[in-house]
């Protein structure tokens, strides 16, 4: 009995949460956020305005605005990879946790999936921006007969297009389908334009057994598809580099390294957004500390995986016979890019140890700061992938250390405003915690606890009734 009592204190979610309160609390996010939400909207609008202005300047002046330099696009492509990476954890983790029936995903997966969709939408801006001549973008669209542009299906760049569009479509559909029952709840509890919107989007969902059975299977099938898809997308992005013969890029560990980095930055972003949403909408009941701890543990494990793959990459270059590759690696560690390199190593491999301590994991301001710094490290990782190789590639005319201009930085900042704005508008219009699944979670956990209480004299504790000792690991 004592174990059960301890468990209830440490539970992911309160088992006695009334369902009416769940609806009320979550739907309140559509009306009444804290002031911090509106301040965040203002910050995002300012960033977006800065980025947009810089883009207009670059558009009118030309790419020379980002320096007349053979690799003036490195900042944009590094940021493109960063946003693609950021998109990975949301849908991928949601799908994996759904398949293994980890029910603690239920209060947090919706916003994580939204993060995926909006990160991809942000990432897609950069291939267009880095072209410079935006008005000629349509040249890359391969409608063959009219212009004689022939798509090269052997190029990883065309694979990129296919993979990212597939991922964006599938992630958006996964997000939407998972939201259908909640849109019906929103339809039943709102008035005016919102009721019209939710009535249309919920497609008349009423929750009959036919709908639930088909929904259950369809959602699972989509989750199964999304896992290999997410892995393939970032492997393909890594192929943009690994399939070239440039030193520092032509590395066989690049695909798993990219996937690990993507998961890592995505998990860190989930922690940041988790804390923000918990604050904006007063969701302490749903985004609980035990759930935050679980994400932190997962992020720590992925950080260690990323560190290992980094070391493998360094070792294979160091002990290999590729003098050019070794020169680039040495240049990263000691040359002009050394501050960025060592900052990446610190933020990516040392700082995550903060996630290993229970006291720190439960301290929200610390976790907020750590999660943001982890993503700074991950952005630096992408910068370190793209820039040093371009500075020391096989083309002597491109040998130079390139530091982006203010205009380029402003465009990158603008992308954060764009992402933030999309995300904040989403969480204000749609329920960003899954109400029906939180109800399921509460219902099933309550049943499990009752079952455990019934068996407490005899057998082993039932599902959900683990001890404080287990929680503390």
């Amino acid at each position: 009995m004592k174990d059960i009592a301890i468990h209830s204190q440490e539970n992911d979610i309160r088992e006695d949460l009334p369902w009416k309160q769940i609806n009320t609390d979550i739907l309140r996010s559509l009306d009444n956020p804290r002031r911090g939400y509106w301040y965040s909207i203002i910050v995002c609008l300012v960033l977006l305005a800065i980025g947009f202005t810089a883009e207009v300047i670059q558009y009118r002046t030309g790419m020379g605005m980002s320096k007349n330099h053979p690799h003036m696009w490195n900042l944009y492509i590094a940021t493109f990879i960063f946003w693609i990476g950021m998109s990975h954890s949301g849908t991928l983790l949601s799908a994996i946790l759904h398949i293994v029936h980890a029910d603690w995903r239920k209060p947090i997966y919706r916003f994580a999936e939204a993060m995926t969709t909006f990160s991809l939408m942000t990432a897609l801006l950069f291939p267009v921006i880095h072209l410079g001549r935006l008005w000629n973008f349509y040249w890359v669209v391969p409608y063959i007969p009219s212009r004689g542009t022939w798509p090269n299906f052997r190029s990883p760049l065309s694979w990129d297009g296919f993979a990212i569009m597939t991922y964006l479509t599938s992630s958006a559909l996964f997000l939407y389908i998972g939201m259908l029952p909640d849109l019906a709840i929103a339809r039943d509890n709102t008035t005016g334009w919102r009721k019209q919107l939710y009535s249309t989007l919920s497609l008349g969902w009423c929750g009959n057994d036919r709908q639930w059975r088909v929904f259950r299977k369809a959602y699972m099938l989509m989750a199964i598809f999304l896992i290999p898809l997410a892995v393939s997308v970032h492997s393909i992005v890594s192929s943009d580099f690994a399939m070239s013969i440039n030193p520092g890029w032509h590395v066989t560990t690049f695909p798993p390294y990219f996937v690990a980095g993507a998961l890592y930055s995505g998990c860190a972003a989930i922690i940041t957004l988790f804390i923000l949403l918990r604050y904006y909408f007063r969701w302490e009941e749903y985004m609980t500390l035990p759930i935050l701890e679980k994400i932190c543990k997962l992020t720590f494990a992925i950080a260690m995986m990323w560190t290992y793959l980094n070391l493998v990459e360094f070792a294979s270059v160091w002990y290999g016979h590729d003098v050019y590759g070794k020169e680039v690696l040495w240049g990263k560690m000691t040359g002009a890019y050394a501050p960025a390199f060592w900052s990446m190593m610190f933020f990516g491999s040392v700082l995550p140890f903060a996630l290993a301590f229970r006291t720190l994991r439960r301290h929200i301001p610390t976790m907020m700061a750590v999660s943001i710094l982890l993503n700074v490290g991950m952005w630096l990782e992408r910068w370190m992938i793209v820039s040093p190789t371009l500075s020391q590639s096989f083309y002597p005319w491109s040998w130079d250390v390139m530091w982006p201009t203010l205009t380029s930085w402003a465009i990158v900042l603008g992308s954060f405003g764009w992402f933030g704005l999309l995300f904040l508008v989403f969480v204000k219009i749609f329920p960003s915690v899954s109400m029906y699944e939180v109800k399921e979670m509460v219902y099933h956990r309550k049943l499990a606890t009752e079952k455990a209480a019934a068996h407490v004299g005899g057998g082993a504790p039932a599902y959900g009734a683990h001890t404080k000792k287990e929680d503390a690991v």
Partner: protein
């Protein structure tokens, strides 16, 4: 024979609702079969659905078709496009490159699978539709509904069964 009445019983206790379905299954109300029962629930509820017996779901066939369509269709589409590259210098490389095309076929297999799963969901769940006139907003809150179409003589025994299981509300309409 065409049923004359549609009846929705709303229950706040899920166990009682399940027991009511088992009673219908045990033919405790003559002329009413468990096949006529539609369960309307606020959450995904396999435990209660079990009482309804095995009801097939066919969405996986849509997925299989979509996956194969994406795989084969994209291979045909991309190879057909490459076949027109003959006028271009290939540098000794094959015109239709199977290995690299496989990456694209793989992506298109997934896209096809996902899109056809969506179609399967819409067809299987009969969406879009209207929730129905008897639908109660209490279902999206915390109650579970049992919906049946019955003839007039079976109406009273069915209502009595619902009352035995602590029904909260009964809604009724005449089918025209």
């Amino acid at each position: 024979m065409k049923k004359s009445h549609r009846l929705l019983g709303l229950f706040s206790n899920f166990e009682e609702a399940t027991k009511a379905i088992y009673d219908i299954r045990a033919d405790k109300v003559s002329g009413v079969s468990v096949k006529d029962v539609t369960l309307i629930s606020p959450i995904e509820h396999p435990e209660v659905e079990e009482a309804l017996g095995d009801r097939g779901v066919h969405v996986q066939f849509f997925t299989l078709f979509g996956g194969l369509f994406g795989l084969i269709g994209s291979w045909v589409w991309i190879s057909a496009a490459q076949a027109t590259f003959l006028v271009q210098p290939q540098g000794g490389k094959p015109v239709v490159t199977l290995v690299t095309n496989f990456v694209l076929n793989y992506e298109m297999m997934i896209l096809g699978g996902v899109l056809f799963t969506l179609i399967g969901l819409l067809v299987g769940a009969r969406l879009p539709s209207r929730p129905g006139t008897l639908y109660s907003e209490k279902i999206s809150l915390d109650q579970i509904g049992i919906l049946l179409e019955v003839n007039e003589p079976n109406l009273a025994p069915l209502k009595s069964l619902f009352h035995q299981h602590n029904v909260v509300e009964i809604r009724e309409e005449i089918i025209r």
